[in-house]
């Protein structure tokens, strides 16, 4: 269930902002596009009260140290001690542009794919260096600016690998969006989640950009079985027709065992730069 905060309620709680519109809420946060007093476009996220705030503080602290052009900047994290008020909120850079999802309907030119995904991987590498895993990388969490720069948004279910988990997920790793889950998110434990989990999602997105189809949506096969056990996508005629180097990269990114995937997003970025428009 998404965490809903009515627009009027939000306006009353945050009079310092001009509200432009409500954005799609998640289970953890209600989100609004706002303007601050100097006219800066921002994204205000009001955090649902049922989250462990101590853990949240620690993870927010890690996210605050992320400063990269391909990651939405966390501007402010505040909580109010006034009783009865909406307590916890974060303010992020509002990224103008469109979701990556708007571009996935048809295949794009490969040089453009190489550039955009290369930059995306540079953002992920910056997170990896801080031991942060996004865990919910999907088209709607990647904004593409008018100048073509991809920006990763919504580290809402991100995990700092050196800290306890932000959310109470028990033993499981199943947090995120199933369509972009990795096998370890379906089957593993939290211990199995690392930066290569995000690389699996990159593999799915890259496949979608090249083939304009999801690699694991197969008729008669559950998403779980397809992601965890099937390599049926490899026989897709459109996939077979793309150059070998791209296929090789996708196969590595979509390896079921995270140990067989590229070791880092930087490695993927370097490969993309090398294969460029092949």
């Amino acid at each position: 269930m998404p965490y809903i905060v009515l627009l009027d309620q939000a306006k009353a709680a945050f009079p310092q902002y001009d509200f432009i519109n409500a954005l799609t809420p998640s289970e953890q946060k209600a989100a609004f596009h706002v303007l601050d007093q100097v006219g800066q476009h921002l994204c205000l996220k009001i955090i649902a009260p049922h989250y462990d705030i101590d853990r949240l503080h620690r993870e927010i602290a890690a996210l605050q140290s992320l400063d990269h052009p391909n990651i939405a900047k966390l501007k402010e994290y505040t909580y109010s001690s006034k009783p009865g008020q909406l307590k916890y909120f974060i303010v992020e850079e509002f990224v103008e542009g469109e979701d990556l999802s708007t571009r996935l309907g048809a295949p794009w030119p490969r040089p453009e794919i190489a550039r955009l995904f290369g930059e995306l991987c540079q953002g992920l590498e910056a997170a990896r260096k801080l031991r942060i895993v996004h865990r919910d990388l999907k088209p709607s969490n990647i904004r593409v600016k008018p100048d073509g720069t991809p920006v990763i948004i919504d580290f809402g279910v991100a995990r700092h690998l050196d800290l306890p988990d932000i959310t109470d997920t028990g033993q499981g790793a199943a947090i995120g969006t199933p369509l972009y889950f990795s096998p370890e998110q379906f089957m593993g434990t939290k211990r199995d989640i690392d930066h290569r989990t995000d690389l699996f999602a990159v593999g799915i997105l890259l496949y979608q950009a090249l083939v304009a189809q999801h690699p694991f949506v197969e008729p008669g096969v559950t998403l779980h079985d397809s992601i965890c056990f099937s390599n049926g996508y490899q026989t897709n005629a459109s996939f077979i027709s793309i150059p070998n180097t791209w296929r090789l990269l996708i196969n590595k990114l979509l390896a079921k065992d995270r140990g067989s995937r590229p070791h880092s997003a930087a490695q993927v970025a370097a490969i993309l730069q090398r294969i460029g428009g092949d």
Partner: protein
């Protein structure tokens, strides 16, 4: 990580290493605290560095509860305890451990830090967690000292006994944010040098998987298997005078009951042409002159003068180490692993042919001809195609 041969200490070989470095054999030294008191280690480190070598220290937490008087001279040794107790180390103790580690690596002036780690065993997530904890601590120290941090990936027999367990373990290992890998692979203890093709291939594939992370791999405790290390793309190899360096049984860490070990057994001559040993001089004297010359061909300064003069065991050790270092140095100059794989196959094929010629005259003891052809079989049809996946 410097490319080439690194001397793997651990069995009273500190002076042997100095002699090797004086003969330009080896680019680095991995100090073992197990047989060298801390103060002496600091002095030896300086001496090694003056001879142009890089220095590392392997704290050998493989069996963390093991201790001896030499180890006790290292401040980090106070944290040697059972795996379960180490797992419960408090934040304060971990911080203290980091301080001691910082002092030790600073005084030894190491070129990187090898993160302490317990031998990985199959079905032991507690070991994975413990090693991740120790790695994080060592990484903090490395960052502070601006040194590279190498994750220790010593895979015990329960891991290396199947491809699946090896893969699972490597998935865990490679989640560590390391600047390089200190890789060891344990084989069955039945043999001095592993001959089972499947196991050898598994070792090479495991090494290759670490190589594909883009970080340098030091194949620790490689010994004669260093011929294969460069074939899978390793940057460096650990070489010592033991042929079965790769064994990580707890007994290995105990002091030998009898000084010297091995009794009055004659020395073994390591022949690069055989890529193996032959008993000196007993077996050599039974071989016709032309073949013998082939076997003895060597540029080692530690080669025996002739078959009639007794050859001391320690000189035989020096000769072995020099030959392995020499070959490693040659392979280290070649960067495509595929070329090194082809080179290794060629050396091994020549060795197989030579062994066949010898077999017309004599059956060598020690089963020393048992592995070369299997190493070729591991490398040749299976391994080369893997490089196309890199």
């Amino acid at each position: 990580m410097r490319r080439g041969a690194w001397h793997q200490c651990g069995d009273r070989s500190q002076k042997l290493v100095i002699e090797q470095l004086q003969h330009n054999a080896g680019v680095g030294v991995i100090i073992s605290p197990r047989d060298l008191a801390y103060e002496k280690a600091v002095a030896y480190s300086q001496e090694y560095r003056q001879l142009g070598a890089d220095v590392l220290i392997d704290l050998q937490f493989c069996y963390p509860e093991f201790t001896n008087p030499k180890l006790d001279t290292y401040a980090t040794s106070q944290y040697r305890t059972s795996i379960s107790q180490l797992h419960q180390i408090s934040d304060a103790d971990l911080l203290a451990f980091m301080c001691e580690l910082r002092t030790e690596v600073s005084q030894l002036a190491t070129s990187a830090i090898i993160a302490p780690a317990v031998t990985y065993e199959s079905g032991r997530p507690d070991i994975v967690q413990l090693n991740a904890k120790l790695f994080s601590a060592a990484r903090e120290v490395a960052y502070e000292l601006n040194l590279p941090i190498y994750a220790t990936a010593i895979l015990g027999q329960s891991v290396t006994s199947s491809q699946q367990t090896t893969d699972t373990c490597l998935s865990d290992v490679t989640s560590l944010d390391a600047d390089g890998w200190y890789f060891g692979f344990e084989f069955s203890h039945q043999e001095r040098i592993p001959s089972v093709q499947e196991s050898v291939l598994r070792c090479c594939v495991a090494g290759l998987r670490l190589v594909t992370t883009g970080k340098p791999v030091l194949h620790a405790y490689a010994g004669p298997m260093s011929l294969l290390s460069f074939a899978f793309g390793a940057t460096a190899v650990g070489i010592g005078h033991w042929q079965n360096l790769w064994q990580f049984t707890p007994g290995r860490w105990e002091a030998p009951e009898v000084q010297g070990g091995g009794g009055a057994a004659p020395p073994r001559y390591f022949s690069s042409q055989l890529w193996g040993t032959i008993i000196f001089p007993d077996e050599l004297t039974q071989i016709p002159q032309p073949l013998r010359e082939q076997i003895l061909a060597s540029n080692s300064p530690f080669s025996p003068a002739n078959l009639t003069i007794p050859w001391p065991r320690w000189t035989a050790n020096k000769h072995l180490v020099y030959c392995l270092c020499s070959q490693a140095a040659q392979m280290a100059q070649i960067t495509p692993a595929q070329t090194n794989a082809a080179g290794a196959i060629s050396i091994l094929q020549d060795a197989v042919n030579l062994h066949q010629s010898i077999s017309n005259h004599l059956t060598l003891a020690d089963n020393t001809a048992a592995y070369q052809s299997n190493w070729i079989n591991a490398l040749n049809p299976h391994f080369s195609p893997l490089f196309s996946l890199r």
